[in-house]
């Protein structure tokens, strides 16, 4: 990399004006326990998601944990460093269908190396392991009680089977943010962002070169072609752009303060691709 190619540090989004969170003092005992229980339910939803991922239950995740009402399904989004998939159909296409296609190719290769092993859907995931534990959460329930926002940090790993019979293990450090909405008496995922800060080979020397040219990051390639392509989070050199930001107390969820694409300062500024 020569001097001309040095990337410019990304803009820092000053989206968190530190506000000491005041417990809603106007709540009575009943309202307070329900407020606290709502926070626990939102946290638990994301925890259950971690187990669904580990158990190759992505379709069940979309059916059980994500929005089901048509209006919410249309505006649901799955974001990452490179843009957003919008609408549950697009999310399913990336998150479930493309993933299952990859798993089938891996299973085909696994079965070649293990004659007699059954090539059937239940065996997808052979040679792979994915763990994305959720920790360090902050959850805000909207003042109007209809939605919630949360942030988690996830030190995870994706170990993927290779066609040569080996595997590649990656540490995946992600900031995970999400909007939730009440449906059917419970909480559902509405807008999700998995913002990757670092992905690094397990066992790779920590001083090994890590720079990747745009378009060559395997995680970016795996993300495919999102509905709204944009450089939403630039993790080059571990820069911090503070996106997605921690949730602050809020009254009502609107597209502009959501973790969907419309909530991104670049989208609001007209920079999408």
């Amino acid at each position: 990399m020569n001097g001309k190619d040095i990337k410019k540090a990304p803009q820092f989004f000053a989206l968190n004006n530190p506000v000491k969170y005041k417990m809603p003092v106007h709540l009575n005992d009943d309202e307070m326990i329900r407020h606290v229980w709502d926070i626990e339910q939102v946290r638990e939803l994301m925890n259950i998601r971690s187990y669904f991922i580990a158990n190759e239950m992505r379709l069940q995740e979309l059916e059980q944990l994500w929005v089901q009402e048509p209006e919410h399904k249309m505006s649901a989004s799955f974001g990452a460093n490179w843009g957003f998939f919008v609408g549950m159909d697009a999310i399913k296409s990336f998150y479930v269908d493309a993933h299952n296609a990859k798993r089938q190719k891996q299973l085909d290769a696994y079965c070649e190396k293990h004659p007699g092993f059954e090539n059937k859907p239940e065996n997808k995931g052979a040679g792979c392991i994915n763990m994305h534990p959720m920790s360090t959460s902050i959850v805000r329930i909207a003042g109007d009680g209809k939605t919630a926002k949360g942030i988690w940090y996830c030190i995870g790993q994706d170990t993927e089977y290779n066609e040569d019979g080996g595997a590649a293990a990656l540490w995946m450090n992600d900031k995970v943010c999400a909007d939730f909405v009440r449906e059917g008496g419970g909480w559902k995922l509405w807008h999700l962002v998995i913002s990757n800060d670092m992905n690094y080979g397990a066992g790779k020397a920590y001083d090994a070169p890590t720079y990747m040219e745009p378009g060559t990051d395997p995680a970016e390639i795996a993300f495919g072609k999102p509905t709204i392509p944009m450089l939403a989070h630039d993790s080059t050199y571990n820069w911090s752009d503070n996106w997605p930001p921690m949730p602050e107390p809020y009254e009502t969820l609107m597209p502009q303060n959501s973790y969907g694409p419309e909530g991104h300062p670049k989208y609001q500024g007209g920079e999408k691709a």
Binding site: D30, I33, V36, W37, A54, I129, M131, P133, A168
Partner: protein, 240 residues
């Protein structure tokens, strides 16, 4: 039917106590207090059970035997390190030396907990990415772990206690090495040779509860998540 304020508050308090109990347990293991954890945190019942990848320590005597053996290993590790590092450790008493060397940080994440409708038991599952150091025949070695805690809890005299603890790992591999490949062992050191002869008693119910990950491992689901239940007889056990 919406639950009453009192019921929801009680459930929240139970949830917090259960999470704190397991947190205290893993923190105690980090602090090498294995000689105390059975009395401090486990149920007084005889049918307690500790499950690991290689089988189950079923019954109080077996669980106690396991923790006592870990304690003896910890003592030995400290003494060997003291001999190897006399300048740094030579002055320490046996009590001060206990716990020097091994280190097991197993932070608990992603809890999913269900409290029985009758309030007498509970089940929970946690995901754990551990950072650890052991002292082996090769000397001190750090290793990564990825696994889960699956726990049945029981209420005794108004307090939550551990009943069946299942700790399963997918990965237990030397740090700085690729866990998709066989671990490259470090050479034994003469100063730590006594550790070659030391072994923890095997589980009294020996079985492969979970295979460690290798690229040849078929897809292996995690143990089942807890589901809501009324009484313990209505649900599955994380023990045997």
């Amino acid at each position: 039917m919406m639950e009453s304020t009192q019921m929801l508050t009680k459930r929240f308090e139970d949830l917090r106590e259960i999470k704190n109990l397991l947190g205290k347990y893993v923190s105690s293991l980090l602090l090498k207090r294995e000689g105390y954890v059975l009395a401090d945190f486990w149920s007084n019942r005889e049918d307690v059970c500790l499950g690991l990848n290689s089988g189950y320590y079923k019954g109080r005597e077996a669980v106690d035997g396991y923790f006592q053996a870990v304690g003896r290993k910890t003592e030995l590790q400290g003494k060997l390190l003291q001999k190897a590092f006399p300048k740094q450790l030579g002055e320490l008493t046996e009590k001060e030396l206990y716990g020097v060397g091994p280190f097991e940080a197993k932070p608990l994440t992603s809890p999913v907990v269900r409290i029985a409708g009758d309030g007498e038991s509970a089940k929970g599952m946690w995901m754990v990415q551990g950072s650890n150091t052991d002292v082996r025949a090769c000397g001190p070695v750090t290793y990564w772990t990825w696994g889960v805690y699956c726990v049945d809890f029981i209420k005794e005299d108004g307090q939550w206690k551990l009943w069946h603890v299942l700790y399963l790992e997918d990965i237990n591999h030397a740090s700085g090495q690729d866990w998709t490949k066989p671990e490259i062992p470090y050479p034994d050191l003469p100063e730590f040779e006594p550790l070659k002869e030391f072994s923890i008693p095997e589980p009294n119910v020996k079985q492969t509860v979970r295979e460690y990950y290798t690229p040849d491992r078929p897809f292996t689901s995690l143990p089942p998540l807890p589901v809501q239940y009324e009484a313990f007889a209505d649900t599955f056990s994380y023990g045997i």
